[in-house]
C-alpha cells in the first residue's frame, strides 16, 4: 500500500513522488484500536477505549494501516485543494481492504454525512489508479467504514445509554445502504461506540 501511494498514485496524477515520512504503520496485534491524533498522525492502542476505531484480528494477520489523510495533505496544493479524503486505509495480503473515517466527536449526525462524502471521494480517487483497481480485484472484504467513538451522559441519567442500546446488542457494526459506494463494488459500514471490525 505504501509503494502504491508514494509511487503509483502520484505517477497516475502527475505528481512528484511522496517523501512524507511515517505514512504507514503495521501491526499483527489480535486486538487494536486506532486513534487519529490532533496532529494528523495515526496511533495504535491495545487498551479498550484508547482509540476511536476498534479492530479485532483473531488470526494475528500482518495488517498495514496507511494514513491517507496525511498522504493527501503532503501532496501539492493544486491537487489536494477541495479534495475530500478519509483518514485511513487498512489492508493486508489477504482479502481485507478497508477505508476508514474515524471520529471521536459530538455532532454525530453532521460527521456521518461528511464521512460518507469523504469515503466515497477517497474511493473514487484511488480506484482511478490502475494499480489500486487491480488490488481491489483480489480483495473480497471491501468496505468504506465510518467509526465514531461515542461519548457518555452524566452517570445518573440513563437516556443516552438507553437510546444507544442497539449498539450494545450487536458488536459487529452495521452494513448500510449507500448506492454510490456499492456501485464501486464496496460496502458502506458504520461502527459506533463498542462496535468492532473483525479482520479475518
Amino acid at each position: 500500500m505504501e509503494d502504491l501511494l508514494r509511487n503509483d498514485f502520484t505517477a497516475h496524477y502527475g505528481l512528484p513522488v511522496c517523501i512524507e515520512p511515517n505514512l504507514v504503520i503495521q501491526t499483527n496485534e489480535t486486538y487494536f484500536e486506532i486513534e487519529d491524533t490532533v496532529t494528523r498522525e495515526i496511533a495504535l492502542h491495545r487498551i479498550n477505549g484508547g482509540g476511536m476505531a476498534r479492530f479485532s484480528n483473531p488470526n494475528a494477520i500482518e495488517i498495514t494501516i496507511a494514513n491517507y489523510d496525511k498522504f493527501v495533505t503532503s501532496l501539492p496544493h493544486h491537487f489536494q485543494n477541495g479534495r475530500k479524503r478519509c483518514d485511513i486505509i487498512v489492508c493486508d495480503d489477504g482479502r481485507n481492504l478497508i477505508f476508514g473515517e474515524i471520529k471521536d466527536s459530538p455532532n454525530i449526525k453532521q460527521h456521518r454525512k461528511k464521512a460518507k462524502k469523504q469515503l466515497y471521494e477517497s474511493l473514487t480517487t484511488l480506484i482511478a489508479v490502475p494499480q489500486f483497481l487491480a488490488l481491489t480485484n483480489n480483495k473480497t472484504v471491501k468496505r468504506c467504514c465510518y467509526f465514531n467513538k461515542q461519548t457518555s451522559s452524566p452517570a445518573i441519567l440513563t437516556a443516552t445509554a438507553a437510546f444507544n442500546r442497539l449498539s450494545l446488542i450487536f458488536q459487529d457494526g452495521f452494513q448500510m445502504s449507500h448506492p454510490a459506494i456499492e456501485g464501486q463494488n464496496f460496502e458502506f459500514w458504520e461502527y459506533l461506540g463498542g462496535h468492532t471490525l473483525t479482520l479475518t
Binding site: Q150, T151, S153, S177
Partner: protein, 392 residues
C-alpha cells in the same frame, strides 16, 4: 405485484427512488423533509393505477367509451402540489409482475402517460385496490362529526374529507371497538338520526363524547377505527360494484358490458397511508398503537393490506425492531409481529432517502435517531467541563 417509484424535483424531494415498496414502509425525518410529500405522491400514483385498472377492466369487458379522464391539475391541487409544478417534477410509478410484465405511469412536463389504450392492464394482472389516506387533519374529525350537520357545505381540504369519509364508513360497520393501548372503548350510538361517538372506560366508570376526550385519543381513534374496518370489514364486492355501476351509467354502456373476469377472480389489495399515527401520544402508547396497527394489517387481517406511515418518533422505529424479533421467534408482542423482509424504514432528508435497514443483521439502524439525545449530553458534558459550549 411489486411497486417502485422514482420522484424528481417535487417540492422538498430532489431525487427519491424506491425500488420495491415494502408491505410496511415507514418514513422518518424532520418537519418539512418531504415525508408527507413522498407518501402523498405514492398514494396518488397508486390511485391512478387503480383507476387505470378499472378502465382496463371496462375496456376489456367491451365498454368502448372511457368512463373518466385523468385530470392531473386537479389531483396535484388536492395533494397541495400545485406550487411544485414550476420545477417540472417527474414521477414514474411502476408495477411489475412475474415474467417481467410491467405497467408504468409516468408524469413529466405536466403530462401523464402510460394510461392509454395501448397500455391496458392484461387480464391476469388486474387488481382492484382500495386506498385510504389518514391525514394529520384527523384531529378535527370529532368536532366535525359532532357539528357536521350544521357545517354542511363546509370544505376542510381534500385529505380531511377523504379521512372523514373512511371514518364515517368504518363507524357504520363497527359500533363498539376496544382501544386496548389507551385502555378505552369507542362506542358509536345512533341518537335521533345522527351518529354520536363516545369514549368509555373499560368498566364504564365514565363516558364522554369523543370531542371532549384527550388530544391523543382524538388522534388515535380514527387511525384504529379505520384500520379495523379495512382489516376485517371492508366489502370489496360492494365497493367495486358501486364503482362499476356508476361508470356504466355515466357512459350509458350498461348493455355493452360483458365482464371479462368475475370480481371474485380479480386480485384485491388495500393501501393505508397514515401521517404520524403517534400524534399526541405518550411513548408507551405510541409503541402499543403501532403493535395494534401491525396486528390489524398483518396478523389478524382478512384483507391483504399494505401500510405506509410517516413518523417523528424514534420510539416507534425502535419498537419495530422488537416486532421483527417477535416474528423471528414466532411470538407476538401486544398481538403483533412483522417479517423483516416485509419492512422498510427510510430517513427522509435533504430531498433524498436513506435506507435504515441493516444489511448484515435483521434490524433497523436506529442509531441515527439517537443523535439528538447524544448531542444533548455531548453539549451537557462540554458545558460541565469548560463552562462554555465548544463545538468540535
Amino acid at each position: 405485484m411489486k411497486e417502485s417509484i422514482h420522484i424528481k424535483n417535487l417540492g422538498p424531494i430532489k431525487d427519491i427512488f424506491i425500488e420495491d415498496i415494502k408491505p410496511l414502509t415507514v418514513l422518518i425525518g424532520e418537519s418539512g423533509s418531504g415525508k408527507s410529500t413522498l407518501m402523498k405522491a405514492i398514494a396518488l400514483f397508486r390511485w391512478l393505477y387503480k383507476m387505470h385498472n378499472i378502465r382496463s377492466y371496462l375496456k376489456r369487458s367491451k365498454v368502448s367509451k372511457s368512463p373518466f379522464r385523468f385530470r392531473m391539475d386537479t389531483y396535484f391541487r388536492n395533494c397541495g402540489f400545485e406550487e411544485y409544478l414550476k420545477n417540472n417534477p417527474e414521477i414514474t410509478y411502476t408495477v411489475e409482475f412475474s415474467d417481467n410484465r410491467k405497467y408504468s405511469l409516468h408524469f413529466a412536463k405536466n403530462k401523464l402517460t402510460g394510461t392509454g389504450d395501448k397500455d391496458l392492464v392484461q387480464i391476469q394482472d388486474l387488481y382492484y385496490n382500495k386506498l385510504s389516506f389518514i391525514s394529520e387533519t384527523r384531529n378535527i374529525i370529532p368536532l366535525w362529526a359532532e357539528r357536521g350537520a350544521s357545517l354542511t357545505g363546509g370544505y376542510l381540504g381534500f385529505y380531511f374529507h377523504e379521512v372523514y369519509n373512511d371514518f364515517d364508513l368504518a363507524s357504520e360497520n363497527i359500533k363498539d371497538l376496544d382501544i386496548n393501548y389507551l385502555n378505552l372503548k369507542l362506542s358509536v350510538k345512533k341518537i335521533q338520526s345522527n351518529k354520536k361517538y363516545f369514549i368509555q372506560s373499560p368498566n364504564k366508570e365514565y363516558e364522554l363524547t369523543l370531542k371532549n376526550s384527550s388530544s391523543g385519543t382524538q388522534n388515535a381513534i380514527p387511525v384504529t377505527l379505520i384500520a379495523e374496518h379495512f382489516s376485517k370489514h371492508f366489502d370489496f364486492e360492494r365497493a367495486f360494484n358501486e364503482s362499476l355501476v356508476k361508470f356504466l351509467f355515466k357512459t350509458d354502456n350498461l348493455t355493452d358490458f360483458k365482464p371479462v373476469k368475475n370480481l371474485g377472480d380479480i386480485k384485491k389489495k388495500l393501501f393505508i397511508h397514515i401521517e404520524e399515527p403517534e400524534l399526541s401520544l405518550f411513548p408507551d402508547a405510541q409503541c402499543e398503537l403501532i403493535s395494534d396497527l401491525v396486528s390489524k394489517c398483518f396478523v389478524t387481517n382478512s384483507n391483504s393490506i399494505d401500510l405506509i406511515f410517516s413518523t417523528h418518533s424514534p420510539y416507534i422505529i425502535n419498537h419495530l425492531n422488537l416486532l421483527i424479533k417477535a416474528y423471528d421467534c414466532n411470538q407476538l408482542v401486544d398481538g403483533a409481529k412483522i417479517a423483516f423482509e416485509k419492512l422498510a424504514v427510510y430517513q427522509v432528508e435533504e430531498g433524498k432517502i436513506q435506507d435504515l435497514v441493516v444489511k448484515n443483521q435483521r434490524i433497523i439502524n436506529t442509531n441515527t435517531l439517537s443523535d439528538t439525545i447524544n448531542n444533548i449530553y455531548d453539549k451537557y458534558n462540554q458545558l460541565d467541563k469548560d463552562g462554555r459550549l465548544i463545538e468540535k
